[in-house]
Amino acid sequence: MKKLFSYKNKVLAGGLLIALSTVFSCKKLIEIPVNPPTQITRQQVFADSSTTITAVAGVYSFTPGGSGLPYKDGMLTISTALSAHEVIGGYGDQAQFYSYTVTPINGEVSSLWQAPYSEIYQVNDVLAGITNNSNLSPAFVKQITGEMKFVRAFCYFNMVNLFGGVPLVTTTDYRTNTQLPQASVDAVYTQILADLDDAVKKLPVTYPSSGHMRANLYTAVALQAKVHLYQEKWPSAYTEADSVIKSGLYDITTTPLSDVFLDGSAEAIWQVPILDKYQGSGEGSSFTPYSSNQIPTFIVTDSLLNQFEPGDLRMANWLGVNVVNGQNFYYPAKYKDPYPTSPATDYMLLRLGEMYLIRAEAAAQLDNLVGALADVNTIRERAGLGPSTADATSKAAVLAAVRKERRTELCFEFGNRWFDLNRTANNTKYPASGQASAVLTGWKPDFALYPLPQAQLQLNSHLIQNPGYH
């Protein structure tokens, strides 16, 4: 038998083996560029202020995954307007809000819960990215920190009013965050106020960019006023609303009612652009009927319509009407056009009108009934109505007048009416006649809070379902 390997062949084979193994043990073969072609790394984002600001812009765009706060799909407005019996109608899961049959698998509830947490993650990631970052100037870090904390406070404010105590996430550490239990309502409010305090300390009076899109000092103060009102801290609420009104930055008289929700509205304290350049706002596309001869999907209830006095210009400007078979069907029309308009419609998250009504309510609770009515009348005057006929000597009557004005002024506006009903329910500080149990058929105290989404309870066994949904 011939010798299998000659010396020459051994060398050849050995060389081949070595060549193969050096080639394939090399890590270089699986080296890839630092970032994928269409994405960048977090380090690249926080490398300087010009890239950091793109992440800040991401926070203000509020629509991670398509439905962040303020709910591109209009869901916060729609679900709370249904729950508050401002409107009736809707499809599928939406109908459950009106009838208080919301289940833990309601899809809308699921997005109401999830969207703000995506937003909060972005805020926390920006805060983590700018803290102790030597690439950024201290002034820039201070400004952005203030803005981010304001946004976080805003998110938690909505969360605590929709769901009660919720898990309080202030970092990006997912291992800890995913299993956090609910914090108490008090703890959530403490966090909101701590964030707002810090924001007030850090934010300047002037807006950091054009319009009223990014937070300045008064947006934080305005939210403080709202939070303190809900917490029944009347003096604080009064002072804060008062300081916003007196700041001179905002004006309720110059912008006509028809333009209040448009870009550049003089009464806007905080509005964010509707960035869906084709479909406009979720509210606009959900509420506006397809055609003028159709019954709207969401119809304004008689109980709300009855609150509008004859001649109330808000009815003509903020409500639309379709006549079908001779019958009037009103629908919400603050956000009118499902298409973007020029000037564009913006989401109005805080506005001066609400500050007047906060100051009015706080004043009334502080027994400054004349002052309260004066603020109510400021609002009424713009709506083309005469002064309130409420008895200026009756605290109950003045509070009722404030409540009625809040109903007509702040209808279908990011949950205001629903939150009002809940915070004043069974509260002896408010006249009983207008309380939830009296005005909402089928309402029970447990229904003031929405259920936690069932999927979330499955994912986090530390969460406890809100009462009434077992």
Binding site: A57, T172, Y278, Y290, N293
Partner: protein, 1152 residues
Amino acid sequence: MYKIYSEHFVLPPGFTKKLLLFMKLTTLMLFLAFMQVSASTLAQKVTLSERNSSLTTVFEQIRNQTGYDFAYTTTTIQAAKPVTISVKNMELAEVLKKIFDDQPLDYKIDYKSVEVSQKEPSFLEGLKDKAAKFLALPAHIRGKVIDSLGQPLSGASVFLISKEPPYTYGVFTDNTGEFDFPNISQNHYTLTVTYVGYSKLEKTIQVNSKDILLRLVMHNSPSALDQIQVIGYGKESKRFSVGSVYSVGADAIEKQPVTNPLLALEGQVPGLSVIAMNGVPGSTTLVQLRGQNSLATDRLSFKPYDQPYFIVDGVPFAPQNVNVSQLSNLANGQSFSGGLDQAMGIGAFNNINPNDIESITILKDADATAIYGTKGAHGVILITTKKGKAGKTTVDINANNQVNAVARPIKLLNTQQYLQLRREAFAQDTLTPSSDPGDYVSFAPDLKIFDQNKYTNWQKIIQGNSTHNTDIHGSVSGGNGSNTFIVSGGYTRSDYNYPGSFSDQRYTLHSALTTVSANKKFDLTLITDYAYDQNNSAGGYGNGVLLPPNYPDLVDGNGKLVWNYKNVPIYTNFYAGLLQTTTLQSYNFNSSLNLNYEIVKNLKIGASMGFSRNTGTEHSIDPSTAQNPSYVNIQAAFANNATQNINIDPQINYNKTIGKGELTALLGGTYEKSTSDFYQAQAYGYSNDAFLNSINGASSLSPYDVAGLTKYVAIFGRLKYVYDQKYIIEFSGRRDGSSNFGPGNQFGSFGSLGAGWIFSEESAFKNALPFISYGKLSGSYGTTGSDASEGYKFQALYSAFPYGNTTPFQGIKQNIPINLYNPDFKWATKKSINVALDFGFFNNRLFLNATYYRDREGDQLVEYPLAAQAGFPTVYENQPADVQNKGLEFTLKSTNVKSNDFTWTSTFNISFNRNKLLAFPGLESSSYANQYVIGQPTTVVFGYRYKGINPTTGLFEYYKADGSVTSSPDYRPASQGGDAVVIGNRETNFMGGFGNNFNYKQFSFYVFCQFSSGTQPNALSALYGNNYPGFASNIPAYVLGKYWTGPGDTHATLQRLGSSYNSPYVGSPYYFAQSSGAYTNDTYLRIKTVALSYALPDAWVQKVNIKNASIFVNAQNLFTITNYKFGDPEQPGNFTNFPLQRIIAFGLNLKF
């Protein structure tokens, strides 16, 4: 009927009967096999007319006429005399007698070959031999091994073994097929020659001092046992395989009129589940081997689907069986609630023409897949396309026309039944139907405004059509011994069984070239596949079939869509979808080049290089004609995608005989680069429908793009040693690196050890049980891995705002985080044990395989679901869970009857898989706390134990955890004080298939049945999960007579009706969908394929110069026996899906 979960192997009631039927059938097949209807060899006639021709010339003549080979050595026939013979149509035996009569030669007929030897030596020669023998001089034995075409077989192993004294000599033939034993001492030897794919050649040789020159002819093995099967980076004979490998050949594939080759595997392979997502032409399929090994990811209630690694001609193809369409079409959004979470659309495998496939091999255990390392954890499917065969150039044309219809239509209510049910629903809700649209609760246009006598069978309009499909495939192939070629083209048109003119059209071009150098040292194979697929589809499918039967016409006399009927708005018009068309053009290019060179004897170096590129262009439109005229928004979407894969796999192969055994070794490496690019643009604001084909015609665009990149590198090896044709040991290993992991986690090592014992080769066994012709015990243990992640996910990434039509915020383009940061995830590891017992009975007429396996996947790499508060719904993370899948697989193949005119063969397979979560430290505090139970299958379902209908309230009732009864159970798990307990296990209890193939003269008949049994959501779950009975929506007629009619109704099996979402009784159905009442045993036996063909008599076809012609009828999904109530049991939990189709194909096959 529903089934309470049990962890034992309990057969569902009612199935026993069917199982018995299978058993009876099996027994029958066995019985027939025992009968041994034996075949008589064909009498061979020979016609010869030779004058003074050489013996070799005469042999050649006979070989050409009869196929009989002649084995001789040149020295043997040196002394032969010239031959003169003239015979006509004489029996071969007589002819041979005549030829050898006058020759100094002897001959012996041995299975299709004639061995020629010298007659007893002459006295002188004998003396010389005797002297040599006396002196015990060693002899020189040389020889050449050829196949029946006379081509040398290189690499055949040749052994000379003597008993006493025990000598073993072993060599491999060289590239000219020759072998050489220089010094063989005198003795009595057994010479064996083995070569993959050929019958073993064995003869005894008496070696004295005389040199021997042998000419050995090997024959293709008629036995499945010796046929070549493709394995990872190589080929092997089934006989010596120790891995779990199963092949499906072209014969089983081509009988099925399916366009997706994966569908042809349904029921064919033990342990392999194939699910057709829907009946849309070209849609994706799901494939899974031996159960689900990974924990759920992403969405909790759904499991991801572990799919095998696919390789086409050595080129990785369609990782995870991805879909190639991005935009919505009828194949999208067709999720049946089978609990699977898989993107749907048009599948990549739609680009492969089943007619071009030679075989599909499924590698199951670690022995077979460890060489693929991290790709192999969930099995490997190797698709081998057809190559040319040496011989006369052949043209093969196959054309067929198909008729499709819904495989298992459901019956819905007619107008009268529907309206009656609606009225009852209102009555039960104590409401009065109202024509006042302002009356939100009672507004019922179908009862008060729509025509009460109109009847439209929407189901018939939408699903009730039948379509004609066309499939044409032609190939030209041929070649000589060292070069072969094939070129084949195919055209397939599948029409959608849907209103409108929609179709999937596929054009394929396949070619393969093989060449071997003259010195046989170098060989090359080049395979190229090109496919173009055009899929025209309608937009969203919707639930059109469920429109009320008295719904107004949706199209007016002018062909315009109707949006309003007597002031009742029609929000969605089914016909709009027909105008919102989507077109997908998919281009697939798959090419592989394989080179080998023998640098020294037994050592080959080579390389495989593959390139595949699948690109797609999509376009969908929403024209004004499809829209409500008061809200027109003309838009379109454009999408492109390209996925590309390049792989280079250098290899070294080495063979050596060591002692009585042969060693084969493989060392190789691989480098692979996969890229993907997706681009999509929504285009808005068209002024006119005519512009819709142009992206430029839009007034605004919102683009989106994403690209992926992964690189792999690996070194792998395999050592196999077969000793004495009896004992086999095999080792394979791979070190794998992937760019999908962060620093420190990129590399992993995997390997396996397999062993086999062919006990039937032991003489004691042979003597004791001679009817067992083959028996093998084999087993393996090994590890494989899974890198179920995506590129770059170990980094925290930001992306430019990726969603929808979002404008920049104040001129600043937004960036948002897109994932959570976890740099630490690493390979998941699977450990597998496989033990198999193979038997061949009665000369391998009957084969039986029984396989036991146990797989355990740990370090589970999952897209771990997180509570929303974490900011993202998932993160890539390893979980310390161990998931076990173990099971049994049985295969039976038999040739029941084999005679000249009639043959009957059968196959049967059944497999049982059992899944279990073995361990999961910290399960209670994980996101899976309410989904899995340690010690139970990962397919368990949590929910409420269903009781029935409360005769008083008419509501569904459930058991609470404490045993009491309620209509509104607490959804929390029992461990947390609620009522949700484990109510079922959705794993498949058993599945399999059996086929019979009959050939009688010119007729061939094949019937294949597929069966499966498991617990699945029943059709009621879909009924109550969606629009529940009584709503303004049509429902299956099944509900009639079953719902509760009033207090005291104790016979009802469905709860009281509800008129709408405002019904006071809508609460309890929500619980129903999560109760044991919504699950049922889903067992079916489906006559999957029936194929009948008739070969036209040769006398007819030869007149028109055709070699072969046959006509055939093939049918798919012909008939189903099931306990499933309504809807298709293959699409459980849904009855509005695009239904699976029954296909009947009529065709013609011609060979020139």
